[in-house]
Symmetry: C2
Subunit: 212 residues, 2 copies
DNA sequence: GAAATGTGACGGATCGGTACGTCACTTGTT
DNA sequence: AACAAGTGACGTACCGATCCGTCACATTTC
């Protein structure tokens, strides 16, 4: 609508110069995340984006296709953030693992947090054929592999058990957020992960104490 | 339709004598759990139940009301099961905690498992006003309180941290099931909880190792 | 003038929800 | 005993609204 940008320049204005497709994409991503896939209709998306429906269907084959595109972007963004966090954590494997956990803990504390965009949709779309599901499964599988890799660096006895254990706690923090908010069980995310890591590091052989 | 029951008796047949309301209720509970709230319409429910829509609206004020009723029943059932499991586990606090975890692990392994009926809906219905949400919040709050109570019996240093930590792992097992199935990280549910319990039991004061 | 976008209308399907008629059975009255 | 009125459960048919998706055509933008 209103153009904001360099008034005395012939180059394109930097603001409000987004293509209809990208406006739709950004708006959809926000609405899908905040309210869920099924709760948001295409009419609401185009209305909120300030564009029209044909523009949506010129850029995306269908609503499901738009959903999949949004999930792909969330996955890419998440992967990128995680890698940056790991890189910034230095070389110590324990620090790297703890940095990942701390990153998720920080995310959960943000005011606009509404759970994991992947896990949420996985609950909402159980149908195996949905184009969004493979994006989710790929993303989570990658994440799991990454965690196992980090756990291996730690040279613990059972890296898979540690990685999956940490994943359980992290996903649990996402899930309990929906009911208790960030001050519920999620507040123990870091402490619980630390405890798990330390236990695995101290365990030479698998503790027979825990086996009946 | 076909009455099955005592052929030479004037008393009412014992089978196929369910009221329309209860057929709707049972069908709705199953469909809602398997496919999600928003994915299931009232038409499908009454069709599957072999009844008609007015029968639904004579028994329930609205679809949301039916949803809340289904959730209430799931909550009641869950509470009952947990109490039975705890009772059957004897008096040792550690055994009681582990029995609860084992119960959830067993549930996750069942072929008809599709996540926690409460947590699933919590993701799907973020709107605060929905009549189903307070059922969910109450159920989860009760569960949390119960876990804290069990942790207190253990006389560990920080029962809330242990209880919430276990809840994180349990909810994480529910959540990861949606993506990885029962052979994913969920398979480490029991071992991870055992590790957590043992750590808390061995810790006299809170381990300074885990604090930066 | 070519590409991107908007306009307005429309399609069939499905959504949650309801007005109204039907039927079996019980109750009250004579 | 007979019949009318009432009761409760149920179904038929329909409502307006919204869903996702499409169309031909006008307008803007570069």
């Amino acid at each position: 609508m209103i153009k904001i940008g360099p008034a005395f320049s012939d180059c394109e204005p930097t603001v409000e110069r987004k293509t209809a497709a990208s406006k739709i994409f950004d708006t959809a991503r926000d609405l899908f995340y905040r309210r869920g896939i099924r709760a948001v209709g295409v009419d609401e998306i185009v209305c909120e984006a300030g564009v029209t429906k044909p523009s949506l269907y010129r850029a995306f084959k269908s609503k499901d296709d738009l959903v999949a595109a949004c999930l792909r972007e969330s996955a890419r963004e998440g992967r990128e953030m995680i890698e940056a966090v790991i890189d910034a954590a230095g070389c110590d494997p324990r620090d790297r693992l703890r940095a990942v956990v701390a990153y998720f803990a920080e995310k959960i504390g943000r005011p606009d947090f509404r759970g994991c965009p992947m896990s949420n949709v996985a609950v909402e779309l159980p149908e195996p054929g949905h184009p969004g599901r493979e994006v989710i499964e790929q993303c989570k599988t990658d994440m799991r592999g990454r965690m196992v890799g980090l756990a291996r660096e730690l040279r613990v006895d059972d890296p898979e058990a540690l990685a999956d254990g940490l994943l359980l706690v992290i996903e649990g923090a996402f899930a309990t957020y929906h009911i208790f908010g960030s001050q519920g069980p999620s507040q123990f995310l870091r402490r619980t992960c630390d405890s798990l890591i330390d236990t695995h590091m101290k365990t030479e052989a698998w503790s027979p104490l825990s086996l009946r």
